[in-house]
């Protein structure tokens, strides 16, 4: 009975406090060995280098949960506040376009979604690199939770672009270089979300997803410069361009406000999803410990 109790205390301590809560190599701990053996030394390649130490601060789930517990309310609050200002400015106080009329107000959601779709994918590629190189357990979870949100903003980018294109170009869709490459980006997002969930072994799924994400990153410059390389229906860059924004400040400022607001909302969303995933992983571990304890008692 005492062995079971010490196992329980040790597992709970490892899971909840400062131990490496979810071991990158998920072998199920066998009962007697856990409490007697010294912690298994990590292979040299995996041991965090001095630089990696800062990186691994948030590999600890307890620390991540405490940080996000404090951060998320502020992040959501800031997002809603900035979006309220941005939406009011964009919808009510910014001028219609001399050519496009009121449809220009779609720009204030379409452009932020495009930036989030591409910026989010760059984030996915960075998380994948952290996962593959440093086996950072939180990077796996973050990437897993990021891709559905990334797919959502990419879909919104495509749909709002189509809603804008219909009155302006006379068509819902065209196999234009910019639109097609963003559609490919959407499939990459969805592919990653599906791939990481297609394996029983989460770590193998995370690794496969990380490889896909890194390969797909080649699409980002294609999207960015498609409007310059090809003769596209889609206009060229209006904000992020060498000569500086080619947009009147009465439209540029609400656009930047909306972009900040949606970025804050996107960050809060991904952090909230990652937080839920960390807690769900802890639940599975405690259930595993409970099952092993029942096994030992039986």
């Amino acid at each position: 009975m005492a062995a079971a109790e010490s196992l329980r205390a040790r597992l709970l301590h490892d899971v909840t406090a400062c131990g490496d809560g979810f071991n990158p190599a998920p072998q199920a701990p066998s009962l007697p060995a856990v409490s007697t053996l010294p912690p298994r030394p990590r292979p040299a390649a995996l041991s965090p280098s001095r630089g990696g130490g800062a990186l691994h601060r948030f590999a600890n789930p307890g620390r991540f949960l405490r940080l996000t517990d404090r951060l998320l309310p502020w992040l959501w609050g800031a997002a809603l506040l900035v979006l309220a200002v941005g939406a009011a400015w964009a919808l009510a106080f910014s001028p219609p376009d001399w050519q496009q009329g009121e449809t220009v107000r779609i720009m204030y959601v379409h452009v932020p979604m495009a930036w989030l779709a591409m910026g989010g994918y760059a984030g996915l590629a960075v998380a994948s690199l952290l996962s593959l190189v440093w086996r950072h357990p939180l990077a796996d979870l973050a990437a897993r939770e990021l891709s559905p949100a990334g797919a959502m903003v990419t879909a919104l980018c495509l749909v709002t672009g189509s809603l804008w294109g219909r009155p302006m170009w006379g068509t819902w869709w065209a196999w234009d270089a910019r639109m097609t490459s963003v559609l490919v980006l959407f499939f990459l997002w969805v592919g990653h979300a599906a791939l990481v969930r297609a394996f029983d072994d989460e770590e193998r799924g995370a690794r496969a997803g990380a490889i896909l994400a890194l390969i797909g990153a080649v699409n980002l410059p294609v999207i960015k410069w498609s409007v310059d390389w090809f003769n596209t229906l889609h206009q060229s860059a209006s904000v992020v361009r060498l000569g500086g924004p080619a947009m009147h400040v009465e439209m540029l400022y609400p656009l930047l406000i909306c972009a900040v607001g949606f970025t804050l909302a996107f960050a809060a969303l991904v952090l909230a999803r990652t937080r839920a995933a960390v807690m769900e992983k802890r639940v599975r571990q405690l259930q595993l410990a409970q099952a092993r304890r029942h096994e030992a008692d039986a």
Binding site: A17, E102, F266, L269, A272, R273, A276, Q290
Partner: protein, 48 residues
């Protein structure tokens, strides 16, 4: 309402719906995990 405004409203509504739905799903997952953690682990119960 003009066609232009219909397209504007639909665009903004879809965006709000997308973010709102995902935020609600994340909140639900969080609540469910918190409840299960409270039941499973005494440390979580103390942390509340």
């Amino acid at each position: 309402m003009t066609e232009h405004w219909w397209h504007v409203v639909i665009s903004w509504a879809l965006t709000a719906l997308g973010f709102g739905t995902m935020a609600a799903l994340a909140a639900r997952r969080h609540t469910a995990a918190k409840r299960r953690l409270a039941r499973l682990g005494p440390r979580e119960r103390r942390q509340g």
